[in-house]
Every structure is written in structure tokens, then in C-alpha cells.
Symmetry: C2
Subunit: 586 residues, 2 copies
């Protein structure tokens, strides 16, 4: 492609709303343009890279035995009502009516439509296993779209769904996808971790996220330095501190004035007690009651674990079953000021477990503490030397906190280190959640109906574009891996008034094209400086610059975008040299 024809409107300035480097460079490098919040145009360069990402995904999905289909973006409400998600799904699900008043949504995911397809057309165990995938535009009406393609509203996703006769076979399908994902992310050149994950809205039990490690990632993950365990902090299993019955002498509880000290940092400093010997008391309102939750001062409550735990403890699901009509979505909210006052008799900020008459749930790490500090349910007062069992009763202990760096690995006892990650892929084992709800079953070998065992597998195609840039850039611009660079090589004739320079450029351009290389020729009548700048910004992996000075000695300059130095190569050898470079990096 000749740059004089290419629609490549690079920019010098970062977009005003850009917070992360991928957003800045993809806009400046003429890859994307914002249309409105969280919705983008892909320009020729951006779309070319997206298609290369898609091609890699297709190859590996096909290799793993999955078959490509295309389901609609617009989905009828009835299917979502069958699965129960029309009610459960929050406002991220964009809903609307057609001209006849029928209800629809823009698909953020396709479990319902896929299960519907299968239940109508698969009847026997002989048709299984089956794995269908699509690459398609999805929509999630995020509250706060941001970071460019990292958290957009309209985005492209590859989603696959597997159907098996039993759990054993379903786990094989899961593993095939897990392996395919590893091949995909390896080919994309990512530094990533496959981490155990919470399965969120989609439901199911077994689940891994593929997290690209990057400082700007929105997810926090922990990785064991000893074994290969890695997990989202929401899911990570830690080895709790052992609770020794003889932790030592229980000292006498005291009540102390702590004027102006409210946060754990302030209390810890004021009383000269480490945060790990203070206990936070958090009040939540859930299922029409207020409950207290205790975690160590240096720990953070894991709302996902807590929600699952409270559903169980408060028998919410059983209640909902009995009284289906009134069932509201199970919502966990921080207690309001009035609810705090009602439960503790004190203003917000001084809650503590001593004397409370509501259920008190505590994290396992609290169980190992003695003689700790808690709020005294009175303004500017705390208790010290508090002990559970003696000074207050805990309704139940459970793992209720987020893992963090320094925690011990539940598997091997090694230490966790923490990373930020960008989720680019997710594999779930769904079991029979959708097949039961929607009546998708097949006859087994004995003629008995069996609910299909399902898995679902997503990859954020357009998010990958951003994740690659987060991991591959320098101050001058993007550094594409060869596999998904929009063009592999850029040829820069530096003096567009010099016939020899132009001719040499045209010749190399033609020869590289003939060799099947994706090559750009910067034939614009621009200065050498601005050609170099654009080539770096746009991030083409190999650059070949042809200048009149070098040509006099029969030399051209080749620079690999990721390398520090360039090399002078004889003009006659340039094409062969570049072909080798491209092959090496592909």
C-alpha cells in the first residue's frame, strides 16, 4: 500500500479523555476514533490488525475442532426470560422494543441464543461433543466506559460454546479450549497468566481468566512465586493462618478515647498497634436485615465471596424459591447511615462487634487474632484487647477477604505476588445452568434424556488490540508484534525529489510485495523527520530508510522497531535481509 493513498490521519496530540497509553497511541497512530462514549470507529490500520487477530483466533479454534457460526446481535427477550437473565442482568444489558412493541436486547453474550439453536437441532449423544463459535459485535452498556478499547460499550468478541453428554467429556472440551487459548495468546506474543477466576454473571463453577500483565490492567491478580498457581484476587485461595488454641494470655478489654481517629491507619497510629491487629467492622444491608462483617485491618472484604456466603447463610435462595413472585435480585449494599445508627447506636465509623445484636460474620484471619482493637459503637471510642468468644460471639467464620501480595498460597504455602492484569480471555464450565433452564437435552446411549453439559469461552478481540499496545510501546509509539502489525515493513524514501531514492524505494517496495510481505511505501512528499516519526508512532516492525547519502555508497538503513540501533545494509541485499527478519519474527 502506498501511504499517499492510505487513510492514515496520524495526530500529534493525545486525545483529551485518554488515560492509558493504548488509548493515546491507537488514536494518535490512526487506528481508532471515538464516535461517542465507549463506541469507536476502526480506521484502515486498526481494522487490518483486528482482522489479523481474528485470523489467528479462527485458526486455533478450527484446529481445536470448533465450528464457526454467526448468531444475531439482536436477541429476543423471550430467550432471556427462559434463562432467567432478563430479570437478573443489570442495566448493562441494553434493552429495547421494536415497532410492534416486542422486547429485545443487544447481545452482550450468546448463551441463550446458542442453547436455543442446539435444543432445536441436536437430539442424540451421537451429535456430541459439539463446539460452536462466532466472532461478532457485542454491546454492554457500561456505566463508565473508559480506557479506549479496554472498556468500551460496543466491542468485538469471539465466543464459543461447547456441548457434551457428561461432565467428563465436558472437561475435555474445556481443556481443549484452555489449550487453544494458550496457543492464541502465545502467538500474539503476550506475557500473560491463566488465572482461576470468579465466574460472575455467567454462572458455573470452573473458570479461568487469561490475564495480560500490565500496570494499567483493571483486574488484580496474585501469582504464587513457588508453584504455578495464579488467581484473580476475588477468587484466590489463601492458606489461612493457623488458629492455635494457646495463642497466649487474653488481656483485659479496655475502652479508650480515640479522638479524630476513624480509619484503620489513624487508629493504628494513634494506639501504636499494627493494622494487622485491628479489626474492621463493616455493616451491610442484605435481604432486609443488617449484618456485621469483620476482617483484619490490613485486609479488604471480597464482596463476591461475601455475597455467595450470605446467600447461603441467610437462605435467600430457598426463600426466593418459596415465594417466587416477589423474588428480588439478591443485592448486597453497605448499610445506610440510619441502618448503622439503628444497629450500633453510634454514628458511622465506630462500629464494633462487642454488644451487637445482629449476626456477626468474620473472616478466617480474624479467628487467629487475640487481644485486638475494634470500634466501641460510640463516637471517638475504641475497645482494645478484645477477644472473640469472650467479648462477643461470631455467628460464623469464613473466607471473606481479597487475597493480596504476601499471602500464603493455599496449594503450596509459597508467597503470593500481586499483578495488574487485562482480561483478554475467559473460559467457563457452565454445567447445566442454561440447558436445564431452557430444556436442552439429548438422548444418551440408553435412550434417557440428559441435560447438555455446557462450557463457554470468550476472547475480547478488540480489547486485545489495546492490550498488545499496553505491553508493546515506547515513548515514540507502538511496537507491534509481527503477527498482528497492520503492515510488516515500511519503506521510507527520504528525499522525494531525488530520482534515485524514489526508484530504489519503488524497487524494494515491489520486490517485498512480490515476496508476499505486507509492505507500506511512504511515498508522501514529506520530510524525512516526519516520515520517521509516523513510522515509529504507527509501530511497523521493520523500517527501511533510503537516503541519498547512503545510496551513494550503495547502502540503505534497516531498523527493527523494537531494537535500539539500526543497521546499514547493502541495497542489493536489503530485500533478502528483510525477508529473513520478517520470517524470524513471524
Amino acid at each position: 500500500m502506498r501511504l499517499s493513498n492510505l487513510f492514515m490521519p496520524t495526530r500529534k496530540e493525545d486525545p483529551a479523555d485518554a488515560e492509558v497509553v493504548s488509548h493515546k497511541l491507537l488514536v494518535r497512530g490512526a487506528y481508532i476514533r471515538m464516535v461517542t462514549r465507549g463506541i469507536y470507529d476502526f480506521l484502515p490500520l486498526g481494522w487490518k490488525s483486528v482482522r489479523k487477530i481474528e485470523a489467528i483466533i479462527r485458526e486455533e479454534m478450527d484446529r481445536a475442532g470448533a465450528q464457526e457460526v454467526r448468531l444475531p446481535a439482536v436477541q429476543p427477550a423471550e430467550l432471556w426470560e427462559e434463562s432467567g437473565r432478563w430479570q437478573e442482568y443489570g442495566p448493562e444489558l441494553l434493552r429495547f422494543k421494536d415497532r410492534k412493541g416486542s422486547e429485545y436486547c443487544l447481545g452482550p453474550t450468546h448463551e441463550e441464543v446458542m442453547t436455543n439453536l442446539i435444543r432445536n437441532d441436536v437430539g442424540s449423544y451421537k451429535d456430541l461433543p459439539l463446539n460452536l463459535y462466532q466472532i461478532q459485535t457485542k454491546f454492554r452498556d457500561e456505566t463508565r466506559p473508559r480506557f479506549g478499547l479496554m472498556r468500551g460499550r460496543e466491542f468485538i468478541m469471539k465466543d464459543a460454546y461447547s456441548f457434551d453428554i457428561d461432565e467428563e467429556s465436558a472437561k475435555v472440551s474445556y481443556q481443549q479450549m484452555y489449550d487453544a487459548y494458550q496457543r492464541i495468546f502465545d502467538r500474539l506474543g503476550f506475557e500473560y497468566a491463566a488465572v482461576e477466576a470468579d465466574s460472575g454473571n455467567i454462572g458455573g463453577s470452573l473458570s479461568h481468566e487469561f490475564q495480560v500483565l500490565a500496570e494499567t490492567g483493571e483486574d488484580e491478580i496474585v501469582r504464587c512465586v513457588e508453584c504455578d498457581y495464579a488467581a484473580n484476587v476475588e477468587k484466590a485461595e489463601t492458606r489461612p493462618t493457623e488458629v492455635s488454641e494457646a495463642t497466649g494470655e487474653q488481656l483485659e478489654m479496655a475502652t479508650v478515647d480515640t479522638p479524630g481517629a476513624k480509619t484503620i491507619e489513624e487508629i493504628s497510629a494513634f494506639l501504636d498497634v499494627p493494622a494487622s491487629n485491628c479489626v474492621k467492622t463493616l455493616l451491610f444491608h442484605v435481604a432486609d436485615q443488617t449484618v456485621a462483617v469483620l476482617v483484619r485491618g490490613d485486609h479488604v472484604v471480597n464482596e463476591i465471596k461475601l455475597t455467595a456466603f450470605l446467600r447461603e447463610q441467610l437462605k435467600v435462595d430457598a426463600a426466593a424459591k418459596e415465594n417466587k413472585e416477589d423474588a428480588k435480585p439478591f443485592e448486597l449494599n453497605m448499610a445506610s447511615d440510619a441502618q448503622v445508627k439503628a444497629a450500633t447506636g453510634a454514628p458511622v465509623g465506630f462500629a464494633g462487634p462487642v454488644g451487637l445484636e445482629i449476626p456477626v460474620f468474620a473472616d478466617l484471619e480474624v479467628q487467629a487474632l487475640s487481644n485486638f482493637v475494634v470500634g466501641a459503637n460510640a463516637a471517638d471510642k475504641h475497645h482494645t484487647n478484645v477477644n472473640h468468644g469472650r467479648d462477643f460471639e461470631v455467628t460464623a467464620f469464613a473466607d471473606l477477604r481479597l487475597a493480596q501480595a504476601g499471602d500464603l498460597c493455599a496449594r503450596c504455602g509459597g508467597t503470593f505476588e500481586s499483578h495488574r492484569g487485562i482480561e483478554v480471555g475467559h473460559v467457563f464450565y457452565l454445567g447445566t445452568k442454561y440447558s436445564d433452564a431452557m430444556g436442552a437435552g439429548v438422548q444418551d446411549q440408553n435412550g434417557k434424556m440428559q441435560s447438555l453439559k455446557m462450557g463457554c469461552y470468550g476472547i475480547g478481540v478488540t480489547r486485545i488490540l489495546a492490550a498488545v499496545v499496553e505491553q508493546n510501546h515506547d515513548k515514540n509509539g507502538i511496537i507491534w508484534p509481527m503477527a498482528i502489525a497492520p503492515y510488516q515493513v515500511i519503506v521510507l524514501p527520504l528525499q522525494m525529489k531525488n530520482e534515485e531514492v524514489i526508484e530504489a524505494g519503488e524497487k524494494i517496495y515491489a520486490e517485498l510485495q512480490d515476496a508476499g510481505i505486507d509492505v507500506l511505501l511512504d511515498d508522501r512528499k514529506a520530510g524525512a523527520g516526519s516520515k520517521f516519526k509516523d513510522a515509529d508512532l504507527v509501530g511497523i516492525p521493520v523500517r527501511i530508510a533510503i537516503g541519498s547519502r547512503g545510496l551513494k555508497e550503495g547502502m540503505v538503513e534497516v531498523k527493527v522497531r523494537s531494537a535500539a540501533e539500526n543497521e546499514d545494509i547493502p541495497l542489493a541485499d536489503a530485500v533478502e535481509y528483510i525477508k529473513t527478519l520478517v520470517a524470524q519474527q513471524s
Copy 2:
């Protein structure tokens, strides 16, 4: 691909709602499934053919110098308000609000988003000409989705937009697209016509439709048997009958009783006057007034021509401009019973021009008539021997009718024949409609701002799948052209208990795969009859059947799907023979 692994749930029964053959065969052949009205799943076979169609379109668009981009499916209302189409576009535009209450639509077309992209990133004539295209999911909320993929609500379209500095250059861009479309439809093996068309909602002046000729087509087109002129009947220019001043003696007008005769057929039969010497009087209500429109009894009013004509005549646009706030969309409606009664004093069905006090507009062919029959504005009465100018005044004559078979070509005087067509492509010259409305201009050579001259070019990708089937099928199923068949060859081992048959099938399958041929192996444990049936239904272009009887003599049976007879070919030559067949048809 092995059929035992392929998700290919063929069916024996036509879907209950299917009216056209493509709908029936695409469902039965496991290409598509309906999700809800006008919204379909594409199964592996269907999607594979769609991707082959897309590939052909991409190649020809790229060859013509267009660049691929991807714009969002969800579009903000503001852009449509700028162009004026948020108001103008009817309920086919699916509109909705996001969680914050902002308004959006699901794009049925992308002029606004494309113009918005260009106005922000193209500043100079040096950046032109520019042609950007995308292949993408669109949505039109049709009142009556039907005919499967022919008139769906969600569908895939290729849309391209060209931007030029002046009209001359824009017409070159238009012609490039016209030529590319011809190459595309030639490669798809269509029998089609490029016809002059009305440009409908999109606006603009120069426009051609690419119509695939098929009985089930929704469009009616006329084609001259002498020259190469073809046009949609809505647009076709006919040569009006010459108006001779001395048409002969004007007879005396009479009023006759015509009890029970209301339609032209009835009047014509009752009075024994040819329909072509009767005149229909149609009353329309438009811009707050009732008007009469006259066409010959054997002609049909062209509402598109009439709308354009009345806009002009009634100075609706000028009025709208003066009083912008109140401007309503210009709507042409048949007069209500009450309006007919008010204008004619008679019930519906007896209107005639004599004595009317409202504007009377007449088609050019009426001008050539004398001594004709019209309604008498009284129940069960008609006038005979009526003459315009003498018995009533015509406000204006104009071309107000649909062309039809037998009309004379305006270009050469040849005769029109009529066809039904399926519109698969459309090219428009838009001029500055969008660039003016949205402020998209560039500096010309003299530094002066010029509005961009735009063209837009659409191809109905998924509709093509249906159109191909309409043109290529027999009673047994689909007959794919090689270029877009999901698989080029199918290998049928007929006896799956015979080791020799299985082995021969596997060998041919492997060799054809190695030769780069898209091949299916029907390795299912099914009977020969059902394998033949499925192969015919699904429509694979070349079938090779391997039976134990033939093998004894070293022969296999090759059948080209479109041929009447099959051929016995020595097993040893089969692969070479098939490679040649595939190459010939590609």
C-alpha cells in the same frame, strides 16, 4: 471436514412460514435457522458461504482502491439529527436509549457516521479521492420481514462511501464502484441487470440497482429489448405517445349509467371500451389539500414520481423552509372516504375530472387521449367521449406512472420487457447532501473550502446467499456455484461396513485436501440413499460416490450437481479428474 463432526442438521420438511424456495432450501439444507421474525442464525455451512461471498467482495473492493474500515453498529442520535434523518427516517430506524437516557439507533446505513469520521480527519483536496468500506451487521425494523434472508431485519451489508473534491472526480469514483460491482456479480455467477433506480431515502440523483433476475424478486424492472437500457419501473423513462393535435373529431360527451361497474375492468367490459381509453381518477391528500391524479386505465400511478412532482408543484419545500419548526414529513396519502365525498360529492369509486374544483394533474399518456371514459362524480354513473381542455382543465401534465412491459424505451424507441428482480447491490451519487448538512469540507487547490462530493455503495451480503439459491436450485436442493459453495466436493463412501469402500473414501478425501480443495467426507453410518439426498439438498458442486460394486471394477461415480448425468471414472484418475472439474468451475 468429516460430516460426522460437522453441525449440519438437515431437515426433510419445509419451514411452515417459508414462501420462497431460498428460504425453504436454506433452512432444510442447514444453512440458517430463524431466531425470531426477520432474525437468523447462520450455521456452519451458511456462514462458510457468507465468508466466501465476503472474500470476493473484499478482493474487488480492494482492487478498486477502496479501504476497509469498521464503524459501529450503534450510532448516536446527534449525528442523525445533524443530517436531518432522525426526523425523516420512519419506524424502520430502530431507536433506543442507553442507561443514561441518551438516544441511539441501530445503523441501517452509515452515511452519518462516515461523514463524521471524514470531517474530523480529512482537511485537504490532497487527501482525496477517498473510498472507505466496511462489511457489517445492519438492522432495519421492517414492517413485514419475510422470504427468509431476502427481507430480514438483521442482515450483513457491505457499504462503501466515496469522497471527492468535485463532481467530475466523484463520477469517476462512482464508475469504479459500478465496475467493481459488475466484477463481483459476475464472479458470483448471477444473471443480473444494472438498472437505473430511484434513490429512495438515501437521497441523491444518480443511482443504479444491481438486480438479480428471479421470479420471486420483490422489485419490478423493465429492460429494453433493443438497447441495454434497464430500470426499476419506479424510475424507468418511457417514450410518451405523441400528442397529435388532429387526433380526430371530438365527439359529444354523454353520461351513462354503469350499475355495479366500478373497476376499470368492469367499466371497460360494460361499455366495451378498451381500458387504454378509460382514465382512472385517483384522489390524494397531501399538504392539507386534496388533489386529483389521472392515469390511463391500463397504467399504474408511480407514487415516487408523484411525490417528487407534488413536492415541486405544491411548493412544499419552500413552505417548509419558511416555517421550519412546524415542518412535517411530506406524506402522500390516498384521500379518505370523507375527503373523496367532499371533493366529488360522490362515494368512493366514481371520481372523475369533470366539474372538479381541486387541482387536476394528469399523466402524459392522458394528454394523447381523446373521447375517453371517466367517472361522473355520481354513484353508478360515468361520462363517455370526454376530452381534456374541452370538458375539464388539467392543472399540469407530467410523467406520473410506472413503466410496464410493452412501453417504448425513451432512449431508442425499442419495446420494454418486464422482469422481477432481487436487489443485491445499489450505487448512489449523493452529491453534497450529507457533507453540507454535517459541515464536511476540504480546502481545494486555491485554499477555498469545498463541500465533499459523496457517493455510497451497498451490497446485501446475506441477501446474496438467498438470491444465489433463487437462481440455482432444482427439486432436490441447492446448486451452488463453485465460488461460494461451502464445500467444493463431497466424497460419499456408500457402504460404511465395507473396509475397501471406507479406505478408498479416506484416500480420496486426504488427497483432495492436500490439493487445497474444500472437501467434505460423508463418514456417517447412514444409507446410500440418505447420503445422496443430503448431498443434493446441501448442493455441493461435485460429488464422488464410492460403492462396493464399482470398486470391484476399479471405478467410482462422479456427478456434477448441475449436470443431468453422472460419470464412471477409474479410481486411479478420480482425484486428478476432480481437480480439473473444480478448476474449470472456479
